[in-house]
Amino acid sequence: MSISEVSGKVLLTHAAGLHARPSVKLTKLAKTFAAKVEVGPGAEGPWIDAKSIVKVMAAKVPQGVNLYVRAEGADAAAAVAALIGLVERDFDETAADAASG
């Protein structure tokens, strides 16, 4: 099995940034992949384990920054695409949800 690293970035537009509910959604999604998945606020990191709810929430990535995603493993490409898709869809939240943080 070939191990490949895949990366990407997406602008975090969610009004509250990567706060509680978005963090939970991101973590839950990351956990559905076998690949090692990491996120960070810059191309050079610091990299955070996207499957760790405590670490993702503690990072407090704010609105308006590019969220970098990288993954390593058999389903790495699917994992990066899925996480970027979630952020692009604004975490599937309504405006009212976002306003309440």
Binding site: V24, K28, I53, V54
Partner: protein
């Protein structure tokens, strides 16, 4: 449901218990079985072993149950409720050393991905390592 670790919330206050459970449901979803109890039958503050045992039954999963508590009596009564469980269940129920609301959300998030009980407990306790 029983594929994931269950979560039990034990507070002195019925409102805190209910509100914490609501946060877990709304933030994490319904992939984890969840039960809560709090308050005394008269409507005051308190916890009791019978209610905790019923909550454990309600949230029971073969992968185990993680209990989140608030203050003193909630913890000691939860430990008593665990001791009164069938022996084969006792080793699969833990009281997490974590703040009740945050711990419940963290534990449920970890549990929702199918993590084993040890990982669920560790995640809840990772928040404020002490």
């Amino acid at each position: 449901m029983s594929a994931n670790v269950g979560i039990v919330i034990v507070s002195h206050s019925a409102d805190v218990a209910r509100g914490t459970a609501e946060m877990v449901r709304q933030m994490v979803g319904d992939e984890v079985s969840l039960a809560f109890c709090g308050g005394d039958p008269g409507g005051g503050l308190g916890t009791n072993v019978e209610s905790i045992m019923a909550a454990i039954d309600s949230a029971w999963s073969e992968k185990g149950v993680a209990i989140l508590v608030d203050l003193g009596g909630a913890e000691t009564n939860s430990e008593m409720a665990i001791e009164m469980q069938p022996r084969e269940r006792q080793s699969r129920i833990v009281v997490c050393n974590a703040p009740i609301v945050e711990g419940a959300v963290m534990a449920a998030t970890e549990a929702s991905g199918g993590a084993p009980l040890e990982d669920v407990q560790r995640t809840a306790e990772e928040l404020y390592p002490g």
